[in-house]
Symmetry: C2
Subunit: 380 residues, 2 copies
Amino acid sequence: MMVPFHVLPDITGPTPVIDVDRVQDNIRGMADKARAAGVAFRPHFKTHQSRDIGRQFREAGVDAITVSSVAMAETFAADGWRDILIAFPFNLRELDRVNRMDPEIRLHLLVDHEHTIEALKTGLTRSVGCYLKIDSGYGRSGVRWDRPERIARMVLALNGPLSFTGFLTHAGHAYQAADSVEILRIVEKTCRRMSSLRACMTARDIRVPVVSIGNTPGCTLARRFPDVDEIRPGNFVFFDLMQWRLGVCEAKRLAFALVCPICGIYPERGELVVMGGAVHFSKEKLDLPDGPCYGMGIGMTTGGFGELQPDIRLVALSQEHGVVRAPESLLETVSIGDRLAFVPVHSCLTADLYPAYRTPDGGTVPRVNSVDLRGAAFRE
Amino acid sequence: MMVPFHVLPDITGPTPVIDVDRVQDNIRGMADKARAAGVAFRPHFKTHQSRDIGRQFREAGVDAITVSSVAMAETFAADGWRDILIAFPFNLRELDRVNRMDPEIRLHLLVDHEHTIEALKTGLTRSVGCYLKIDSGYGRSGVRWDRPERIARMVLALNGPLSFTGFLTHAGHAYQAADSVEILRIVEKTCRRMSSLRACMTARDIRVPVVSIGNTPGCTLARRFPDVDEIRPGNFVFFDLMQWRLGVCEAKRLAFALVCPICGIYPERGELVVMGGAVHFSKEKLDLPDGPCYGMGIGMTTGGFGELQPDIRLVALSQEHGVVRAPESLLETVSIGDRLAFVPVHSCLTADLYPAYRTPDGGTVPRVNSVDLRGAAFRE
């Protein structure tokens, strides 16, 4: 169950690898789903952050995208994307940066405070669309869905350089769901609450052009999104252990893994040590019935990924070390210097720690990452 | 308790800031401690990863250092360090890279497998010192301290390009200790086990030049290290919430914080949202009696850091959002666009996500980070 010697023989340390066929299937699957459900598809690009993978979305008919920072918007604007939503409660300290973006780009910001709206009206030198962030039950950000008075006042305040794009919500509590049944219940409740909010606006003669919902668990599992106009999932492009564990995806849709060299073999305690720690995986953890899990083994050939190996498991991470519990059959066959591939718990966080992906056949797919994007601020 | 407007007015997003006086005090304190205890001081540079901060160590009399990767060794070798230990079970896939390093540098590798030793003897084109990694109770890597036969065989195998530097252990279980009393008990036990192992070697006519122990909790709290020759703490340069919570340091020694802009204020639930999520802090968490904690507020002026604010607390992190629980007195006084400073749970992981530190008086202190160091591999 090692990564064979002829797969990526050149790599020396922890290396992110994607299965391009699975990525392709995941993209097409979600694009088809959106079409069948009659909703617009504005995928979130924060997971892959790759212009190349972005182009695969374009080939699947996508022309509007979601990102989570101004820097990410700049990256994809530079690759020809012309309709971009920055889905983070707008950070007023980046106002100048937004003003510097190409005015030809249809840019949408996310707002949920009167103060932000007023500051934008004063400070913007370009026009932008505004999604009003609605808290439909997650409780992280947004105006609560059951405050139609306040919401109506905020919509009416969107004028001057601001236009009202619609309502946006993110049911992040789907990640705390016990199983797929609960996720579907959350989707249904989200759609119902947003629909009722839209009805409240209609009663006030306010037209809501777009109701937009997010998140991979709900968008993957549901078939219908009643009274919703747009979906914004992101993680589905790679999926990960968290999604697999929630019952959102089958193991054969897992499209992202980290290949790590073995640096220690300890048969007496049934463990290996790989170069692959918190700085390589992130410390996102699954609490499984038999203990913590930071990653799970997966097969790999030059043709792509193989089977998920739930018995090969990252059970502890230090800064650079990963401790792997593995069956005797594996411990007896590996040597120091061999490589193992692991699916991470949360692919968005792991992928964000690298400047590129490799493919099992030896290719390289560049991406941006938060560290590089931030680096620009220090160099300015 | 906000970061005042005149402190770092130019920053727009999450920004790592160090208190240079505290860093200085932390460095001098540990150097003095080592001198008083009669042990060599080989600080671990994985926490700060900054040439500038490295020079402060040099001024404190340090001439030998510890790093955790070949890339980090190259970085500090390029800044004139001439005695460098790479304290990670050697990754044989980086053999060529070690061969390319300046032969004038006294380089030490860490080994705990016969296979690694033989492969080094075959593949090295330069001489290196070897520390034998001993597992004195942590159970992550190393040969168990109570296997003197195997250890003696491995020491005797260190010949040709390899010389025996000594025994190295890392009592990482100190981080799971309940309090400072338990940490001191772990230090004492570690020293006793290493001393007994050395006696076993002496009985076999094997001289052990150096016994080296690591970790900030033990090295900060203990005053004596019986029969130990060298200490390798790293985190103490900044400390963090984990160390503070363990009783290892007082709040006034916390030297690293992340300044984050406020993007949402939700008085109805007693919370704020800052731009500052898992990609800015890492997902390292403290489980406090009243819930999870990913960071705690701290005061800041142009002169340096102020008081720790345990009632301002990061209670949840998404990819880019941080949810902050804060007292009414703060919620009533802040506006969108104000900044708050937070001490992270694990400074090593948070700092590693940035290309530089800022200082409260406006300065910039460059550092390297894992993402940049890895980037080189993709560009090669």
